[in-house]
């Protein structure tokens, strides 16, 4: 019984069956990669997990509880964090503030009228955010407006924000797209390290096979809205159908 159990999930957009009969089980404390051609339904599946979309059929259980019908913030409070395909950060806020918001969410829950003490007095949160920034090697940028960062930096910030919540399940949608090689490697290391230090389960969507094969313990290949195969990285690499439909000759 995995921490995340997706059963028979289907989703239609008008005439397009984006997901059909998807079954997926992610075991606790593993890194599970989902790969597949463009438009296969990977992001759609993720959207169904975090409450952005409601599947037409099927069930999604997280840690024995159904997530369907819950608002995104409730699902997040259950312990699922998500990084988006195009960076979603608080552009008008500084980098440090961006990092503090998830820390507050973790500490205070979905709503807390904390209107009188000043932010700088919340030492625990400031420290936690600074610590995370240092870990992401962004501490020197903490006073910058997040919108003014280059895109690779935005993406790293977003990953950091999700990690600082210490989620039980982290969903990453192409976390290293547009990231410089050096930072990609850093991110891989960071994820590995976090994986070691904390009880965390990671589901990752990625087209960069270097990342996938460095991290994943299991891989599901999605094609045209249904899982094609699920296996270990080694087996996937050699899978002829996957090679043909997805990896191409350069893999």
């Amino acid at each position: 019984m995995g921490i995340l159990e997706v059963k028979n999930v289907g989703k239609r957009f008008g005439g397009l069956q984006a997901l059909s009969d998807v079954n997926l089980s992610v075991a606790e404390n593993t890194v599970h990669a989902i790969i597949g051609p463009n438009g296969a339904g990977k992001s759609t599946l993720l959207n169904c997990l975090v409450g952005k979309l409601i599947p037409d059929s099927g069930s999604v259980m997280f840690d024995g509880q159904s997530v369907l019908g819950r608002a995104p913030y409730e699902i997040n409070q259950m312990g699922i964090s998500r990084v988006f395909q195009t960076p979603e950060i608080f552009g008008d806020l500084t980098v440090l503030e961006n990092m503090m918001i998830p820390c507050f969410a973790k500490r205070d829950g979905a709503f807390e009228l904390n209107a009188l003490p000043s932010v700088s007095q919340q030492k625990d949160v400031v420290d936690q955010a600074m610590h995370m920034l240092e870990e992401m090697r962004m501490a020197d940028k903490r006073h910058m407006h997040a919108a003014a960062m280059s895109r690779g930096d935005k993406r790293r910030l977003e990953i950091g924000m999700c990690l600082s919540q210490e989620p039980r399940l982290l969903l990453l949608d192409e976390p290293t797209a547009g990231m410089a090689r050096a930072d990609t490697n850093n991110t891989i290391d960071l994820l590995k390290q976090i994986k070691q230090e904390r009880d965390i389960t990671i589901a990752i969507i990625e087209h960069d096979m270097h990342v996938v094969f460095s991290l994943a313990e299991r891989i599901t290949v999605l094609a045209q809205g249904t899982p094609l195969v699920e296996d270990t990285p080694e087996n996937i690499k050699g899978h002829p159908k996957v090679r043909e439909a997805y990896l191409g000759e350069s893999a």
């Binding site: 957009f13 397009l16 597949g36 051609p37 463009n38 438009g39 296969a40 990977k42 992001s43 759609t44 395909q85 195009t86 003014a148 960062m149 280059s150 895109r151 690779g152 930096d153 192409e174 797209a177 547009g178 990231m179 410089a180 090689r181 050096a182 930072d183 990609t184 490697n185 087209h207 096979m209 439909a245 997805y246 990896l247 191409g248 000759e249 350069s250 893999a251």
Partner: protein
């Protein structure tokens, strides 16, 4: 290097073949932050130039400066395209002069269908590939022509962005991370397309984090670091220079 080259028509005394696109001593600012700090380079007709560098090095800013988007603001420098002074033009004039930019965040226009996004590219002259021909190149787009562009999957959006550039009869194609988010097989496809259009005489500048891939494709490479050029030479040279690769590209 800082001698102003003579780009006027009768300047045949240049030592190498005349440059098709020249950027001379370009400086650009975002508000008060100084980002592009005196960039010089030439691209010859039919050449593919790889523009490389870390996150935040200023690659996107350089491309946007050439495309005359107005942000960042170019305060000094000259840009010549086929004897036409781009630095005196606004973005739409530059586009009519034959410049095509595929922006990094794809910039699919909300509220418009896939087909409308393409039609939009064919309103102002010069008009390039027919829409049907583009659908042949990217069948996925043809299947989704009535879908709203922004609901496409990440990879599909990238295809649309490239198709939109080809829908215009451009002379210089500026690609900002075109492979991002694309499945490996599709990347292979696009690479083939780029080689194909290069054979037909297209001049291309490509910004790409996957440096090896870009260098294998490119004739020449320019490496940027904090807004200045630190290397300008042939692509093979970069591949052969381990120091350069590890210092600026982490490969």
């Amino acid at each position: 290097m800082n001698v102003k080259p003579d780009f006027s028509k009768n300047a045949n005394q240049a030592t190498t073949a005349p440059a098709f696109l020249s950027v001379w001593d370009m400086h650009a600012y975002y508000g008060e932050s100084y980002i592009v700090q005196g960039v010089n380079f030439n691209v010859h007709e039919g050449e593919i130039l790889a523009l490389l560098g870390r996150n935040g090095a200023g690659k996107t800013s350089t491309l946007r400066s050439i495309a005359r988007t107005g942000s960042p603001m170019v305060t000094h420098g000259e840009i010549w395209l086929d004897h036409k002074p781009l630095h005196k033009m606004t973005s739409y004039e530059a586009a009519q002069a034959g410049l095509g930019l595929v922006p990094e965040d794809r910039r699919i226009i909300p509220g418009l269908t896939v087909e409308e996004n393409l039609q939009l590219a064919q309103i102002a002259p010069p008009i390039g590939w027919s829409i049907e021909r583009l659908y042949d190149l990217f069948p996925r787009l043809g299947e989704r022509r009535k879908q709203e562009g922004v609901t496409l999957s990440g990879g599909e959006q990238q295809m649309l962005a490239i198709a939109r550039a080809l829908a215009r009869d451009i002379k210089v194609l500026l690609l900002d991370e075109p492979y991002e988010g694309l499945a490996p097989v599709i990347v292979d496809e696009i690479e083939k397309t780029l080689i194909h259009i290069k054979e037909q005489g297209m001049t291309t500048i490509i910004v790409e984090q996957n440096a090896v891939r870009a260098l294998e494709l490119a004739d020449r490479a320019v490496i940027l670091d904090t807004g200045t050029i630190v290397f300008d030479g042939s692509a093979a040279e970069v591949l052969g220079n381990a120091e350069l690769r590890s210092e600026y590209l982490a490969i």
